[in-house]
Symmetry: C2
Subunit: 222 residues, 2 copies
């Protein structure tokens, strides 16, 4: 049965390439599973949206009679019985999935929220000050160097490419975009290697095309 | 086979009650599985510790020939085949586990890091300023009110008590301790209900006794 991916109907330029439906598109491309896309309004959030996702976030999937949110949970669901989550490496892959979405992203968000506040205070609040930002940056650098140590001499975080790499790379991509990986060749190469995968390239193209179609629709109806 | 829980040898007063080995102790008490405790030095991190856990964090478990870190992954591993993760509710429980450790905790950590910076700048960096803290507080309040909506009329987040409640309650406990749940009766009652469970009470008692024994050992060897 064709799976349904639910994402936003439109977003402004800045989160394009980073809306988390990308993770799900990427996983679906890796396992060769067809899907179609439905949308919910970005603003205001609809009751239909809140009924499926109480935080008003995306992605959400509908797979037969299951409706599921949280990209981490969706990755585990989609990975079941595929090369993204082989039974023999389940515990290890799950460990690195949480390392990406909790340990690494928790450290990342503290710094990123300060960087984004300088650019878009209306969304991310008033700036925190240089000293506070520098401290958060150093904490993040330390954490990233720990990931780099793990990746020394391996292509992927948990043996062969797995859903843990989708989560880890997508967490790192935001940082790469902010210039944080400039002096971290192992992490930079890891992100580049992942982004060169045909499944990532297709997922990103479809992700960007979705927003471009939304722009066109808005222009027509304006 | 008896499971081994690896935690720190000692911590100062402030994170006691919140070191994440508590989540694992709690789950083990819920499923009635015996375990024993080993320790790694809090400072400096040992090579043995880094070899098991590249971020130098705890908890870590050893279960037969599996060594595993990340409390989320450990909860999923321990839950397998138990009432904490019934097969029929696997996807829903996993969804709420990630909601706790990513969606809720990511919002929480931005505010908490600002609050702790005022108290312990040597660990959490220079303060961010009142405006920035107020913005983070409001974002967190919004997110918590969304969790509160979900919990209206239910005792537990995903049907019967599950490992998702262990992660969600443990994420909320930090906020309760900082007075953030004062005007959120549904969340406060949820945390109180969870903390009244005999398994939580035993886990917390063992967690605190562990640090008290560590104090006594330090006093003897001082």
């Amino acid at each position: 049965m064709t799976l349904t991916l639910i994402t936003l109907d439109w977003v402004p330029d800045f989160p394009r390439g980073f809306v988390r439906d990308l993770r799900v598109r990427w996983a679906l491309e890796e396992i060769g599973r067809p899907y179609h896309v439905e949308t919910v309004p970005m603003q205001p959030k609809s009751d239909t949206h809140r009924a499926m996702q109480p935080f008003g976030q995306v992605p959400i999937i509908r797979d037969a009679d299951l409706t599921l949110f949280e990209s981490g949970a969706i990755l585990l669901h989609l990975g079941e019985g595929t090369a993204l989550l082989p039974e023999a490496r389940r515990a290890e892959i799950t460990q690195w999935l949480f390392a990406a979405l909790n340990t690494v992203e928790l450290t990342s968000v503290v710094w990123v929220s300060k960087v984004l506040a300088e650019r878009w205070p209306e969304f991310f609040g008033p700036p925190s000050g240089e000293e506070s930002k520098a401290f958060a940056r150093q904490a993040l650098k330390t954490r990233l160097s720990e990931v780099e140590t793990v990746l020394e001499g391996r292509d992927w975080i948990a043996g062969a490419f797995s859903l843990a790499d989708i989560a880890m790379v997508d967490t790192l991509r935001v940082l790469a975009g902010e210039g944080m990986l400039g002096d971290m060749p192992i992490l930079s190469a890891y992100v580049a290697r992942a982004e060169a995968r045909p499944a990532f390239v297709r997922a990103m193209a479809d992700h960007m095309a979705h927003w471009q179609r939304a722009d066109a629709t808005m222009a027509r109806t304006a």
